[in-house]
Every structure is written in structure tokens, then in C-alpha cells.
């Protein structure tokens, strides 16, 4: 389990922390597909368009047609506007009423740079956060699912250098390396039966936190873009899976009950000091397939189908080095999922208006839905505006995400935690581009 430690410059760590993003469940699973303001305006159907620097994320082959040095910085503000859970019998029962997730906003920064090396070879560099999870419950010390999770966080930041090669005026390919830095956190309470009251009481808080260093992995991405006729383009992109072996520590903090004898007994059995913990997460591979057509009157229609290999996320195993502490072994058994996207753009010279829609299928089976994550199928509606010249551009967009409810009542539940989850979210994105 001992691994060589790599020392990173402080500035790198500071930059990485900025990009390490934890979002409320946004696209299906814990992937984040909104990595640019322009794609976000047109339903994230951008694989066959890929005509701005965010192509590094969506389809790096799109760099083949970008002939200027460009830098694009931007960000999205994702706001969870609803995150409610209404409990049902037998647990947690109706007595807890409606409980809420922390409705907060998260910043998702992105940075892209495109550097033409020759007339047909471009270099690109992207920094973004394609995966993130933030499932944090309000009133965590009273939340009825607090022995499963009070706060589940996955942060990640990718550094993605790519090289594109335009093989013909109508065809380009690209390949890149994908370095991912990640961090996970899980907080929960520990319960015990108070022998004096024969009831459940909280006796400790457990925080499992991975370190920022060494928790990283490498993958790759590739894509092609083909424009067989002037008005049609076809594109496909692939991003490989990345497995990260996290190492971190578990901290056990006692919650006093007020009964000295019981508290002493609890303290005697509580792990003391740093407890080494390890967990492995395999981030899934994904493949995107898109087609776009330029219509009369400066309309652009883009369609896309995206596949994510979520079946690789079949188990969550948290391994404590101290054998006296029980490991957490949870079978997740997720399914591969598809998303279907459509986007439309209308241009008036440099000004563009965009709209889009997508349906994102949840990979999470109902059995796994619980306080750690309650993912759901969702329909999203997008709107965007842009003003782009050859030298600079600005894009702004909004995505309203309508989640379908997940209801575990009467279902098989890993957590034996029954009720109905209701969620909604909104994302506002903006990006600025300079080209030379």
C-alpha cells in the first residue's frame, strides 16, 4: 500500500484546488458534461461542432479547423435549486418530514488554449473538471440518513494536452493525454445502542478524507471530425477510463451522550488518531457520437448520443488499514448509460442565439439510490447567446435541469432507506475567448 510520494509545487496545488470541483449531481452519475458556455447553450451537443477551444473536451479533432492561437477561460455556476427527501416507512419513517440537501452554488472553472504548430497540426491544453459529486445534507447531525452519509464529495481536475492533425480539408483527428487529480471525502456518523435507553444514539463522527497528493491517474482521449459535404459534419470522441487509488485518513470524533459510563465505554472502543484508509474509484470511459448540419438562414442543428461505461462503477470499497475497523463494501452495480442531445444555433453575423434539449439517463439502479447519491433521469432545457469575432468572443448560457423523482418505497434498497427524492438544478455558464 505504500507508494512513492510526488512533491508538487505549491502553485500547482493551488491551481489544482481551484479546479477540483464538487458539484451536486448534475449530469447522470457524477460526470459533468458542461465544460463550455457555447456547448451549454446548445444542449451540450457539440461533438460534431467543436468549433471553439472547448473542443479539447468535447472533440479535440475540432482543433483542426482552429487556425489561431486562442485562449478561452470561463466557468459555470451550478446551483441546486431543489434537493428534498421525503422519508417513508419502515425507515426513516414519516416522522422526519421532508429533509433537504444543501442548496448551494458551485463554480466550475474551465481553461482552454489552442496553439497552431504547423498549418495542419495544432496543440491544445485543457483544464477542466469532468467528474464531481457533492451530496451534502442540511442539518447533518439530525439527518435521518446520517449513518450512511452526511456529505459525499468527489472532486476532480483534469489536465488534458491534445494534438490535432488535419489530414484533409474535410477531416481531422486528434489524440490527447488525460491526467486526472482527484479527492474524495465521506462524512457520516456512527451509531450505538444506548443500553440505558435501548435506543439509537450518535456516538461518533467519521470523516474520511483523501489527500490531494498522489491521488491521480492517467488516461487518454481521441476523436475525429469529418465534414463530408459542406453543410454536414460528423464527429466522434472517446475518453478512456481512469482508475485512481486514493489514500487518505479517517478521523473518528466522539459525540458525547451525557452518560459518563456509556461515553467511557464508547471511547474505549473508538479508533484513536489517524486511521489510514484506501479506496479505488474507476472513472468510466465515454464515447460521444454527433452529427451537425448547417441549415439555410444561418441555422445550425446538432444532434448527439453519448455513452458512458458506468458499469465499471460496480463497487465502492473503503478499506481501513486497521483491521479492527470494519471496511465499507458497497455493491453499486451501475449500468452503462446513454444521453441524447439536440442543439440549435441561429447566427446574425457575429451574434448567435442557441437553444437545446437533452435527456440524460441515470446509470444508478434504484437499489443503490440513497443518502450517498440519489441520481435520476433528467430532461434539460438550454438557452445561450454568443458574440464572436475572429479576435475575441464571449458566450453565455443557461441550463435548467428537471430531474425525475426517485422513489425507493417498496423497492429493494441497499441502505434500507425508503422515500422520495426530488431535485432540480440550474447552470449558468460564461466564457471569454481571445485569439491572435
Amino acid at each position: 500500500m505504500t507508494r512513492r510520494r510526488v512533491r508538487y509545487p505549491e502553485t500547482f496545488l493551488a491551481l489544482a484546488l481551484l479546479f477540483l470541483t464538487a458539484t451536486p449531481a448534475f449530469p447522470a452519475g457524477f460526470s459533468i458534461f458542461a465544460q463550455g458556455a457555447k456547448p451549454s447553450g446548445m444542449g451540450l451537443a457539440f461533438t460534431a461542432v467543436a468549433d471553439d477551444p472547448s473542443a479539447i473536451f468535447y472533440n479535440p479533432a475540432g482543433l483542426g479547423w482552429q487556425k489561431h492561437f486562442s485562449a478561452q477561460a470561463g466557468g459555470s455556476v451550478l446551483t441546486k435549486t431543489e434537493g428534498d427527501f421525503e422519508g417513508a416507512n419502515p425507515f426513516p419513517g414519516t416522522g422526519f418530514g421532508v429533509e433537504g440537501q444543501h442548496e448551494t452554488s458551485h463554480l466550475l472553472p474551465t481553461f482552454y488554449a489552442v496553439v497552431p504548430l504547423t498549418s495542419n497540426i495544432n496543440f491544445g491544453l485543457g483544464i477542466f473538471a469532468p467528474y464531481g459529486l457533492g451530496f451534502r445534507w442540511d442539518d447533518a447531525e439530525q439527518f435521518s440518513g446520517r449513518y450512511i452519509a452526511q456529505n459525499a464529495v468527489i472532486r476532480s481536475a483534469d489536465v488534458n494536452p491534445v494534438v490535432s492533425l488535419q489530414l484533409a480539408p474535410s477531416f481531422a483527428i486528434a489524440v490527447g493525454a488525460d491526467y486526472r487529480l482527484s479527492k474524495v471525502t465521506l462524512e457520516r456518523n456512527r451509531f450505538a445502542i444506548n443500553p440505558f435507553t435501548q435506543s439509537v444514539v450518535d456516538v461518533a463522527h467519521i470523516k474520511l478524507d483523501s489527500e490531494i497528493q498522489d491521488n491521480d491517474g492517467w488516461g487518454w482521449n481521441a476523436g475525429f471530425l469529418w465534414k463530408p459535404v459542406g453543410v454536414i459534419s460528423l464527429g466522434a470522441a472517446y475518453r478512456s477510463s481512469i482508475e485512481i487509488d486514493y489514500e487518505g485518513e479517517g478521523k473518528f470524533t466522539q459525540r458525547l451522550t451525557g452518560n459518563a459510563a456509556f461515553d467511557a465505554a464508547v471511547a474505549a472502543g473508538l479508533p484513536q488518531g489517524r486511521q489510514d484508509v484506501a479506496v479505488t474509484i474507476e472513472f468510466p470511459a465515454s464515447a460521444n457520437f454527433g452529427a451537425a448540419i448547417n441549415l439555410p438562414a444561418d441555422f445550425l442543428l446538432s444532434l448527439e448520443a453519448d455513452w458512458t461505461e458506468w458499469s465499471s462503477f460496480d463497487e465502492l470499497f473503503i478499506d481501513f488499514e486497521n483491521t479492527a475497523i470494519p471496511d465499507l463494501d458497497r455493491l453499486t452495480n451501475w449500468d452503462d448509460s446513454w444521453a441524447y442531445r439536440a442543439g440549435l444555433e441561429k447566427k446574425w453575423g457575429s451574434f448567435a442565439v442557441r437553444a437545446g434539449y437533452y435527456f440524460d439517463e441515470s446509470p444508478q439502479p434504484i437499489r443503490d439510490v440513497g443518502p450517498i447519491l440519489a441520481d435520476a433521469d433528467r430532461n434539460a432545457y438550454t438557452l445561450g447567446f454568443g458574440y464572436n469575432t475572429e479576435r475575441w468572443g464571449v458566450d453565455i448560457s443557461d441550463i435548467y435541469i428537471d430531474f425525475e423523482q426517485r422513489d425507493t418505497r417498496g423497492e429493494e434498497s441497499t441502505d434500507q432507506f425508503f422515500g422520495r427524492y426530488s431535485e432540480a438544478a440550474n447552470l449558468v455558464a460564461i466564457s471569454f475567448r481571445l485569439s491572435f
Binding site: G87, A88, N89, P90, F91, P92, G93, T94, G95, F96, S144, G145, R146, Y147, I148, R188, F191, A192, I193, N194, P195, F196, T197, Q198, S199, V200, A261, F262, A264, A265, P371, D415, Q416, F417, F418
Partner: protein, 486 residues
Amino acid sequence: MKRTFRAAASAGALTALLVSPLFSQTAFRKYVALGDSLTAAVEGNCLVERHQRRSYPKLVADALGIGGFEQPFISERAVSGPVGVCLGAVVAGGTITVGAVSQQGAPTNAALARPYDNLGIPGANAADLVDLRVANPSGNTANRFAAAILRNFPGGPFEGRNTVEEANLLNPDLVTVWAGPNDVLGAALAGAAIDQVTLTPAAVFEAKYSQALSGLRATGRTLIALNVPDVTSLAFVRTIPPVVVDPATRQPVIVGGQPVPLLGPRTTPTCSTAPCPIPSSTLVTLGASALLGQGIGIPTALGGTGLPLPDGSFTPPATLSPGVLLYADEVALMQQRTTEINARIASVASANGATVLDIHALFDGIVAHGYEAGGGIVITTSFLTGGLFSADGFHASNIGYAIVAKEVVQHLNEVSGTDFDLPDLAHTLFEPDMPVISASGVLDPAAGPFGYSMRMWKDLVSTAAPSDVELVFPSPVKRVEKVFPR
């Protein structure tokens, strides 16, 4: 206009009458529960309203939306005497142990003009369902409780009626019967697996059980039979290890790298003269606590008396000497008898149109891996800290009874095609179960390292002992101070 409205209303009512049976689930009108202390909701070896309000039949009635479920409530008061004490966790010298926290009071619902809906009678075995026609307030446990619950004593409102007859007076459409635990439990409590004394012969059980279920069978009535859990897995027999423990830590004393077996009366292949070290497969009941406190069962080299812990025995014609050890052959006999009785329950239930809720399998599962009550909470069989058992080590806790209630409703939904909401387990899990009176707990100083006094043990053995035997308990010996090598 008025006439039109009336016509429309009549048509609507008629339509509702015709349609509702097709589209609404079965609703139960009246529910009656028969059984023993587990049905009555005994906890900590006493029956008080605090627990009766959380009995499994009451939780089932609530889940089914059946109102007016009447129970024979008994008040609770401060500890003032040796009879009917309620056990709970107390602190002794910084250690959590068991002591008296309150005491049974008097019936508070005795004027009810009809039989109670909860007809669980502590101490009752299967035969008592049909044979206990005349309660005797000064008789054994079942007799005494029957006086308050069946009220069938001479001059009582239901004189001469047995449990089944009282249940039928209520004309229920749902009946649960949980009989049989007391037909094997006496062996565990008395540390003596003796056929026809502490274990009911399967044929005898079958005859009485069949009589009860056939008496309860009725057209339109749903009948559910709960079977018998493995009493050799109760906390009462699985808490004290078969080796000498340090009373301060309750951890085994290690000598020469090995734990030291307690002493028992039986010889073994490696010990021809008793007392002998007990085999590791031997179960030691909580009744041994006070004896260990006197140094009984502990070798003299470790500061004990060198005397053996008693194994239960029976001397004809009617003397039962309870013990605190269950050797492997006794455990096997108890398990075998439980299997036989459960087979009889299954066949009799089938013959009488009843379905069986397999409590035996449920309990085996809890013993093996706990009960996932929900939200990451796992209930286990550990004494005092597991959540399933009350402080006597064999009756369930509020949580245990809530689990039974949930399983009953779930079973009912499965066999009846209904969709009743399951009981709210969280309410029970998080609700402190404390005596309603102010009590800090009374600790018996002679209760030994596991806090279980002779008084407690005697009360428990008396609970399930046959009414026609004389109980002769071990005599106390001079208390000794033990010094354990570290």
C-alpha cells in the same frame, strides 16, 4: 334540482359500493393476538404499560389502521420489593451492568367489559392456550398473568374460558398466534434440557397446538402462526464465555497463553474426576453471573472456590435443580426439539388454513449478520448493546418487537396481497425507552461480573418452569475476592 342531486348521489353511492371491493385492498376490522410474553411485550422480565404500548400486536394494529386495540395494561412504579422487578441497564463501579430499574404495578384496564385484543400471557406454553381455563392468582407465572389478562378465575367476567374462546368472542378477522417458545425456553433458563420437564414433547405440543388452531379457524379469518426461534442463540446463553474472565474488563484471563475454562460437574475424556474444565462448546447462561461472583466455577489457582458451576438436573418425581450450563448434547436436544416443534407448527398451520411467519429463520439471520433496520443501523443480539434483546437477555426490546411487527405486516402483505404501510421503525429506534417513574437503578452487589443476580435468575426460571415441579436452586457459598494474573 334537489331530486336530480339525490338521484345522482344515489347512483354514485351504488357505483362506489359495487366498485370498491374490486379496487380497494382488504381491510381488517378486528385483530386479536394470542401467545406468551413475547406477544404481551415483556421486557426486562416485567410487563408494564411502557412496553405494552410498543407490543408487536399494537404496532401491527396501528399499521393496519385498526383502532380500539385494547391491552391489559399494568402500571409501573418504583422498586419496592423483590417480585415483579423490571430489569434495565445500571452502572456499577463505572461498568454498565443490569439491575432493577422499576417494578410492575397493578392492572389499569381491568374494567374492560370484553376480552383484550392482546391475549399474550407471560409464561404460557402451547397447552395453556387451551388448558388454562381457570386462572389462579397465586399459581405459576402463566396462572398469575392469566388472572389479569384472561380474567377467567371463579367469579371473573370470563370464568372458565380459555384463550382461544376469549379470542373467538371478539370475532376477529385477523389472528396471530405465537406459541411454542415456552415449550423449549425453560431448558435455556434452567440450564437443563430434560424431556417432558423443561422441553415439551413434540407430540404433546402438536396435540395442544392443533386444538388451539382448529378452535381459531373460521371462515373469512386470516390466521398467521409465528414459529419458534433458536433459544440456544439468545443473549441469555451467549454472553458469558466458557472461560474465566477478569470481572473488571470481562475479557478472558490468559494463563500460559491460553484462556482458562470454567469448571463444571461433568467429566471429560481428559478429566476423570469432577469438577472438570467445561468444553469450549458449553453454553454458560447469565444465571452463572452471581455464582461466578462467589468464585464458583473458577479454579482455586485463580482465586476461585474450585467448585463446579451447576448443570441442571431433575429428580423424580418433581424436583428441578436449575443449572447454568448447557453442554453440547443439551444444546443439540434443544435445537432438535425446536426443529420438531416448528415442523408441527407448519403442518398444523397448513391443515387449518394458517400461514407461517418464519421467526426461526429471521432470528438465525439476525444472529449471523444482524438486522438492517434501515439507514445504516444494524441491530444485533449482543447483550445490552445489540438492541434486539431487553435487559433480561431473552425477551425482546422495544426495537425487537418493532422488528417482529414489521415482519408480520410484511408477511400479511405477501400472503393477502395487501399493501399496508410497514410500521415506522425509526420511531422505535430513536425513542428512548426509560421507566416513567424516576429511578436511578438498583444494583445487586452480589450480581457477579455480568450483573445478573441470583434473584433475577430465579425469577426467570420460575417464569417458564412447569407448575408442578419444585425448584431447588444452588446454595450460596462464602463470597471470595479473586485475584487474576494479568
